[in-house]
Symmetry: C2
């Protein structure tokens, strides 16, 4: 007997048939004797519809009212799932953010969770009641509904799991786990049994859209054992109710992974653009002069590479931005050319950032060199490189994306079971 | 400067264009210097969709969860109207039932309002803020959302007007007032400037679907001056902002109507069915023996006429039920035939109840006789008659509905300005 938080996203509750399927997953765990809290998103497409209405009502809408409108989507799903569970003979009750209460700060539209009082939900576990919690929402200090920002239901689930001291937080989604790379590009990609929080953070932030970055951060801080698993698998298929080893990927502490691989996954992010400023006068504060105005304009700068010229008087500054931000970034740089003191601006879009991820590379040498050689052997030109303790990111021409991902996946042996 | 509650129904807020139109009505009153609270329904069709989902999830759904799901419709409209008003430069804030709070009893799905704390809304009137209140909902003693039953937004508005001590409650709807009869049947029907609460109750319960019966009862008890007016008229048309005499029908105390007509309106209800039990043994308790089982079966019995036979040993019992309840009623009566001691059951459907309404008939004689003669002159057969202090109801063959309505409308001079 354990305590579980299960989270189901929008595609998993898209209609009443799917909600019934979700209810069967819940019932399976209840029948196994577990305490269960379920966190649900809005039905697929519903949040987008509500957001579009707010925008149509006013492009500059009040975040408090936006929250009141948008949070209604999860409210509907929570009530419908509670009814469906009751219809299957499961004692269930829905909970909205203000009823728990799940208290947030006052940043309406992108609130952060401040405190969750799980005592009443826990008391009702004692009566055999399932809690069906509307995700993505809380109550702000002004006694108004707040929302956690897009994708916030993952965060609700992990935070609730921490507050309830749950043994596990199961994130049910439309994929059955976290893979060594994108299976659409590399069919030999394997589902990982386990991945560390740190690695998952790098995977998530690079566009492996399984889990929201914030929820992984939260799980890491509170050490919430988080499972990524599929809601589309038959709820009663063999092994689905296996408490110790359910089908899916466990995101956990590094020390819980006995045989750590050096490299665990290959991630990629398309639609990057590169900007190079040539012959920038090399003086203290030059980086601030360039990146300050870009940040103010809301341009999301990612990789930054700086080379010193032979003479030492000039430097070349290269960095990447999302392709969608390129025009805005060039505009900012053009206007501030005199101040920034560069001679030439060069830019190119249609690039991809490929990343090799693994906590094991901290204690292994030559990991980066292996990647560079493998790409060179395939004739893939490297435009920029950045590294962190557990990640090597390489900027390449977008046309080579699939080849590079498959090459790196193979060279680190990830395609072998 | 006054205090107003404005209520807008589902067709008035059906999409964002109409919500903008509603906002213009609100702004007109705000610009005139009034304190304004607005009560809104869900967008047309939305409540039906949510109710259908609850039914699909489970035919016997939990009323608490039904309330959580269904109340979301008004939540969306309230937020969107607040955003739209803000976009027009009007200081506005949405209020859900639990935020006000509007406290109800625990009868989820058909709750009654217990108490409304309007103090915070009134405080914000002082800051020039408009309150946009989600209709149809409150909070029950169990700290869960409750709904007031279908059409409950009218009731929300009247109750809020009473709590806020509003000078007037304007019910904006898709008609521009209450008419002397249905204008689709009698083009000469006139909009009444005023109608008493008592008369409106009879009109409403007879199917003049302008206002919910409960809201009229509440307005009568709390003496809330209630205006029925159109939301589809241009908000800035001449006279729309006239505080003393806006276009529409005022529902008010009888004593506020200076020149009371004897008859003020002709109402009708189609699809009535008549059941006659012949040669019922005339003994004490016979009515209870017949109508008790019908009530238990949920059959809504309306007109009841009892004639004593010549001998006094038998009686004939005639009553009406909605045509949709006829089969069920006959089933109940068949099964209990021995107990009820009647000889023959006759029934007929396709009937209409036409009613003449007016508080003036209390002090005038001959009102009923005028109706009977007028109908007889047109060859319309009267099947049953019931009367109350302010109403005469006549059951006729449904084919004569329009003719009867026009005949009665004319005979009491209602078609004259």
């Amino acid at each position: 007997m354990a305590r579980l938080v299960l989270k189901f996203g929008g595609t998993s509750v898209a209609d009443l048939d799917r909600i019934r399927n979700v209810a069967r997953h819940v019932k399976r765990e209840v029948d196994a004797g577990h305490d269960v809290a379920v966190v649900v998103s809005a039905m697929a497409g519903k949040t987008n519809e509500l957001v579009a209405w707010c925008r149509e009502a006013s492009p500059l809408h009040d975040a408090r009212e936006y929250d009141a409108v948008v949070a209604s989507g999860e409210q509907v799903t929570a009530g419908l799932l509670a009814i469906t569970l009751q219809n299957m003979g499961v004692n269930a009750r829905s909970w909205l953010g203000w009823q728990i209460p799940l208290k947030t700060d006052g940043s309406h539209g992108a609130a952060r969770i401040a405190e969750i009082d799980g005592s009443e939900i826990v008391r009702r576990f004692g009566e055999g009641q399932v809690a069906v919690v509307a995700g993505f929402q809380g109550i702000a200090p002004d006694n108004r509904i707040s929302t956690l920002g897009r994708g916030g239901s993952d965060t609700s689930a992990v935070a609730l799991a921490a507050a309830l001291k749950a043994d596990r937080c199961d994130i049910y989604t439309d994929v059955d786990g976290v893979y060594t790379t994108d299976p659409r590009i590399e069919p030999k990609a394997r589902r990982m049994a386990r991945i560390s929080f740190e690695e998952m953070l790098e995977m998530a932030s690079l566009g492996a859209k399984v889990l929201q970055v914030r929820s992984v951060e939260l799980a890491m801080v509170h050490k919430v054992r988080t499972f990524v698993r599929s809601s589309f698998t038959d709820p009663d298929a063999p092994g689905m109710g296996d408490f110790d080893n359910p089908p899916g990927t466990l995101i956990c502490d590094e020390e819980d992974i006995v045989e750590q691989e050096v490299v665990t996954g290959i991630a990629y992010a398309r639609d990057e653009a590169q900007i190079s400023l040539r012959r920038v006068s090399d003086r203290p504060g030059v980086a601030a002069a360039i990146f300050g105005p870009l940040a103010e304009a809301g341009v999301n700068v990612d990789m930054i590479v700086q080379n010193v010229s032979e003479s030492g008087a000039y430097t070349d500054m290269t960095f990447t931005v999302p392709a969608g931000d390129l025009a805005k970034a060039k505009d900012v740089l053009d206007k501030a050319k005199a101040e920034m003191q560069y001679e030439v601006l060069q830019s190119e879009s249609g690039l991809t950032k490929v990343s090799v991820i693994g906590v094991g590379m901290r204690s292994h040498t030559g990991v980066a060199a292996t990647a560079f050689k493998a790409l060179a052997d395939r004739g893939i030109n490297i435009r920029a490189i950045t590294t962190s303790e557990i990640k090597i990111s390489i900027l390449i021409d977008g046309d080579y994306t699939e080849l590079a991902v498959r090459t790196l996946h193979a060279v680190y042996g990830l395609d072998k079971a």
